[in-house]
Structure formats: structure tokens, C-alpha cells
């Protein structure tokens, strides 16, 4: 258990008496692609919200690079390199595809509060934004309005926008949800490419994706950790089969 980059200790979230996340101890190793799986309502998305402080935890701690980050606001956590995506594709629909990525790059200039400066000062970032778009194969869509993109492309754009922050740890919430087979293959390829030199924690329902992509898997059920290990270990666990894979096992 060396090189743990992201860790939770006794992480708990209660909503009016309902315990959504129940003292979860999670350890994500540096460089791993780590999956968080579990049936609907297991608390996976809530864990994401707690890790990035989109929700305050009732109890417990989140440690990122050995530092307690539970008290920091979400934007500060993102600046530290722990960057999340969302379950529903989160893009800026009325902006161009290029502008979507450029908004994420804008930090670098330090002029984000400069209301007196022309937006053409941001054109310095276009080259860099185009490179990011090329990395997810979106360069031909750069000038398109984002709402016009097909769903799979929007997810790719979201990935490029996340990568613009040069995250150390990426939290991806169901990156292949609602996609056709071809799109899934492409996004898996993109994630594998993006994960080089980074750590990824992802919520994922598609077990093919999990088995082919992930180094380590944590299974959540009813808010607490049911099992942890690599795909073979986890899928052999009878508790997991009962709680989660019971109906899925037929497909695997």
C-alpha cells in the first residue's frame, strides 16, 4: 500500500437520517485506473461529490497527497489537481467547442477577472486548445456550437476540458453511460490514453469497460465498501455476485 494519492477515512454522508455513504475507507494508488462500482443507489456519485466537496461530509476525512482537503471549496480542490467530471455530460452548450476547452485553459493567463480586457487576448490559447481537441479527435469540430455535437463527442469534449487543467487525479463519473458500442470503444481508448502518467478514479456500470481498463476495483453497496481488489478477485467474491452481479453475471 505504497504511494496512495487519494484516501478517505471513515467517510460518511447522512441525508436526514438516511446514510448514503457509510464510513467508506478508500485508497487510490498513484498511477492506477481505479473503478468504483455498485448497484444503483450504492452511493458512488455521492462519494464523488464528497471527494470534491460538492457536498460536505457528515463525518470522516479526505486526504489528497497526504493533505486533508475536506475544508477546501470545490474550486480550490480542482486547482490542486483533483478534477471531476459529471454523470450527465457537462459542457457549455452555447459556446463553441474550442471555447469550451479554452475556458479551462484561461487560468494560465490570470486575467479571468479582467472585465476591461478584450476577449481576443484569449486567442493565445487557441493553439493549445486545438492540441487538446486533437488528442480526443475533435479538431474538425472546433468551431461548431457545442450543443450540435453528438453525445459521444460531448463526452470526449468533456474529457479534453478536464485534461486542460492538467489534473493529477481525474474523477470520471460514468464516462460511457448512455453510449452506443462504438462510442464506448472510442471513449475507453481516450481514457486509456489520458490516464498515462495520471491517476483515474471512475464510476462505471459497464463491466467490460471495468475489466479491460481498471487496475483495481472497489465495490460499494448500500453506502459501504463490500469488496476490493482486481477484477478477478472482485468478480469471484460471492458477496459481490449476490449484491451486484447477480443479474449482470449472465451477461459477463
Amino acid at each position: 500500500m505504497s504511494n496512495v494519492i487519494l484516501e478517505t477515512r471513515g467517510l460518511t454522508k447522512e441525508f436526514n437520517g438516511f446514510t448514503a455513504v457509510d464510513s467508506v475507507d478508500l485508497q487510490v494508488q498513484q498511477g492506477h485506473i481505479h473503478a468504483l462500482i455498485g448497484p444503483n443507489g450504492a452511493g458512488k456519485s455521492t462519494v464523488f461529490n464528497l471527494l470534491t466537496h460538492f457536498l460536505p461530509a457528515t463525518r470522516g476525512e479526505v486526504l489528497y497527497q497526504g493533505q486533508v482537503i475536506a475544508k477546501l471549496p470545490p474550486n480550490r480542490i480542482a486547482r490542486l489537481g483533483l478534477v471531476r467530471s459529471f454523470q450527465i455530460s457537462a459542457v457549455f452548450g452555447q459556446m463553441s467547442v474550442l471555447e469550451n476547452v479554452r475556458v479551462a485553459l484561461q487560468h494560465q493567463l490570470g486575467t479571468s477577472f479582467h472585465f476591461w480586457k478584450s476577449a481576443s487576448s484569449l486567442n493565445h490559447l487557441n493553439q493549445q486548445a486545438m492540441q487538446l481537441l486533437e488528442s480526443v479527435d475533435l479538431q474538425d469540430f472546433a468551431m461548431r456550437k457545442t450543443v450540435e455535437l453528438p453525445y459521444g463527442r460531448k463526452r470526449a469534449l468533456e474529457l479534453a476540458t478536464t485534461l486542460a487543467l492538467e489534473p493529477t487525479v481525474m474523477l470520471l463519473d460514468e464516462p460511457t453511460q448512455g453510449m452506443g458500442h462504438e462510442d464506448v470503444e472510442r471513449v475507453v481508448g481516450l481514457i486509456r490514453k489520458a490516464a498515462v502518467g495520471r491517476t483515474v478514479l471512475m464510476v462505471e456500470h459497464n463491466l467490460h469497460v471495468v475489466s479491460s481498463l481498471c487496475d483495481r476495483i472497489t465495490v460499494l453497496a448500500r453506502g459501504s465498501v463490500l469488496a476490493e481488489g482486481d477484477y478477478a478477485t472482485v468478480s469471484a467474491n460471492p458477496l459481490v455476485r449476490e449484491a451486484y452481479m447477480g443479474k449482470e453475471a449472465e451477461h459477463v
Partner: protein, 326 residues
């Protein structure tokens, strides 16, 4: 590929900018010649309300925040300027206006700090409540003249040189103030800051997850909006030599929403057109038998706007032009 696309974007941007420039110059010519055709005081009223509506639209149209208390800033700009200019007769009008604008900006900061963390209807309600509080302070405070209003504000001499008692001189000064406010808003919307505002309006959680402190951005937009609304109120007081409770009343907060929606929310020229139409309606119907039906007429327009013309007049014109001239 790379450079070709960005060149294409540059060219597109430049041709759009050129069209905007021509439209701007045409409108400016109209504005410069208008006082020779129409009554200057009426035109000045139009310009003051146009600036007020533009300031409001910066929030509603470009950040997605519905403030229901913007009358407080219009009223504060007016009262503080009026009070400064009547109390200290050596003050030149531009300093009085500056004082009123600063006061409204500070009030905007206070409102903003208290309200900005809330969303949607809660934000609107808090701004309404604070504006009502401000209204009652102006009703009771000794310096405002209560229900009678603050009378006898001298127009004075601009920079101690130019006599503003001349309506034409006053008009060009008001036009300059309006242009300053309008261009500031245009720049704000098309600035690095404006890009972040767009992102926040489109998807606030995502903007937050990209490391932007969204509340700070919203607060700055709110303060700019409040300051410009104050500037409108301050200028209006100098024009009419009078500050009254009407400007601070919640009716005014409602009317500016109507002006903005009618003209086109989220467009730069929409609020100018919308406010001009509303002010003109007041003017045209005020003297006639329909005057007492004013609220009903405005209310009906409001309902029609919300039901049928969500994009407003300028919004529809823009869509029409985009569809047919591309």
C-alpha cells in the same frame, strides 16, 4: 488544419466586428442628431432608462441572475447625487454623479455579499427584501424629502466649464454617460471575465469543477451592474433636478424586467429598445384616457412577452438575420 481553422475564426470574428461597427456608427449618428428632431429632455429620459436596463441585463442576460431589487441602485444613485449636489453647492455635477455611482456600487457589494450564494427564486427574494428595506430608509430619512422627493438639484457646470442648464449640452453629456456604460457592458461581456460568466450561465457546477470560484465572478458582475444602475439614477437626477421615491420603488424593479424581456434578454441592444418602448408608452398614453390603464397595458405586454416572445424583439431580429443572411 490548426492554423487554418483559427484563421477562419479570426476572419469570421473580424467580419462580425465590422458589421457591428457599422450598426454602431449608424445608431450613434441617429443619437447625435436626435435632439434636433425630438424633445431633448425626453431623449435624456430614454437614455437613462436604457442604461438602467442594460445594467440589469448584464445580470439577467449574461449571468442568469434575476435581481428583483435593482430599483434600490437606481434610487441610491439618484438620492446620493441629489443630496451631494444640493448640500455642497461647490461640487460640479460629474463629481456628484461619481458620488452617487460609488454609493450604488457599495450598496451592490453589500446586497451581493448577502444574496449571491442563493439560487433562482431565493436570490430574487433576497434582493427584493433588501431593496424594500432601502426603500423604507429613503421614505423615512430626513435628507430625501420623504414622499415629496428631493427637489432643486442644480445641474451646475460640467467640470466647472460647461453650463448644463442648456438642454443640448446636457443631452450630449447624458449621451456620453450612456455610451460609457453601454461600451463597458459590451466589453465586460466580450472579455476574459465575460467568458467565465458565459460558462457559469451555461453550467455552473462544471465551471466550479474547472476551478472557478463562481460566487466571486457572480459578485463582481452584480457589483458592476449595480454601479451602472446607480450611474443611470445619478444622471437622471441631474437631468430632472429631482430625485423621487418612484425610482426606488419595487415597481421600478419590475419595470426593468419588462423592458429587458421586451427588447431581448441577453442581447446588447435589446434593453435599449425595450426601455425606449416602455418609456415612450408611458409618455404617449400618460396624457390620454388610457393613462389610468397603463398598468394593465404593461401587464398584458409582459404576459405576451413571456408566453410568445421569449427572445424579445432584438432576439427575434437576430434570429431572423442569422437564418436569412447566412
Amino acid at each position: 488544419m490548426n492554423t487554418a481553422t483559427t484563421h477562419f475564426q479570426d476572419a469570421l470574428q473580424r467580419s462580425q466586428q465590422r458589421k457591428q461597427l457599422y450598426l454602431g456608427l449608424a445608431l450613434l449618428t441617429v443619437a447625435l442628431l436626435a435632439p434636433f428632431v425630438a424633445y431633448p429632455v425626453f431623449l435624456m429620459k430614454l437614455l437613462c432608462f436604457a442604461l438602467f436596463a442594460c445594467a440589469f441585463n448584464l445580470l439577467l442576460g449574461y449571468v442568469g441572475l434575476l435581481s428583483f431589487g435593482h430599483a434600490a441602485f437606481l434610487g441610491t444613485g439618484g438620492y446620493i447625487t441629489g443630496w451631494l449636489l444640493t448640500r455642497y453647492s461647490s461640487l460640479t455635477p460629474e463629481l456628484g454623479i461619481l458620488g452617487g455611482t460609488l454609493a450604488a456600487t457599495l450598496l451592490g457589494l453589500l446586497f451581493g455579499v448577502l444574496a449571491i450564494r442563493r439560487q433562482g427564486i431565493y436570490f430574487a427574494m433576497i434582493t427584493l427584501a433588501l431593496a424594500q428595506l432601502t426603500f423604507f430608509i429613503y421614505l423615512q430619512a430626513p435628507f430625501t424629502g420623504g414622499e415629496n422627493g428631493l427637489h432643486g438639484v442644480p445641474r451646475g457646470q460640467l467640470f466647472g466649464l460647461l453650463d448644463l442648464k442648456n438642454d443640448l449640452a446636457m443631452y450630449y453629456f447624458v449621451l456620453a454617460v450612456f455610451l460609457f456604460g453601454y461600451l463597458l457592458i459590451q466589453r465586460t461581456v466580450n472579455s476574459p471575465f465575460g467568458q467565465i460568466l458565459r460558462a457559469i450561465r451555461e453550467n455552473e457546477p462544471r465551471a466550479l469543477s474547472l476551478g472557478y470560484n463562481v460566487n466571486a465572478y457572480k459578485l463582481l458582475a452584480f457589483v458592476i451592474s449595480a454601479g451602472l444602475a446607480g450611474l443611470a439614477g445619478a444622471t437622471k437626477t441631474v437631468v430632472f433636478q429631482f430625485a423621487s421615491l418612484t425610482d426606488a420603488h419595487w415597481h421600478m424593479s419590475g419595470e426593468v424586467i419588462l423592458m429587458t424581456l421586451l427588447g431581448g434578454v441577453g442581447t446588447l441592444l435589446g434593453p435599449v429598445l425595450g426601455s425606449s418602448l416602455v418609456v415612450w408608452l408611458h409618455h404617449a398614453l400618460g396624457g390620454s384616457v388610457l393613462g389610468s390603464w397603463m398598468s394593465v397595458i404593461l401587464g398584458s405586454i409582459f404576459v405576451l412577452c413571456v408566453l410568445l416572445f421569449r427572445a424579445g424583439i432584438v432576439g427575434y431580429l437576430q434570429k431572423f438575420v442569422q437564418r436569412n443572411l447566412r
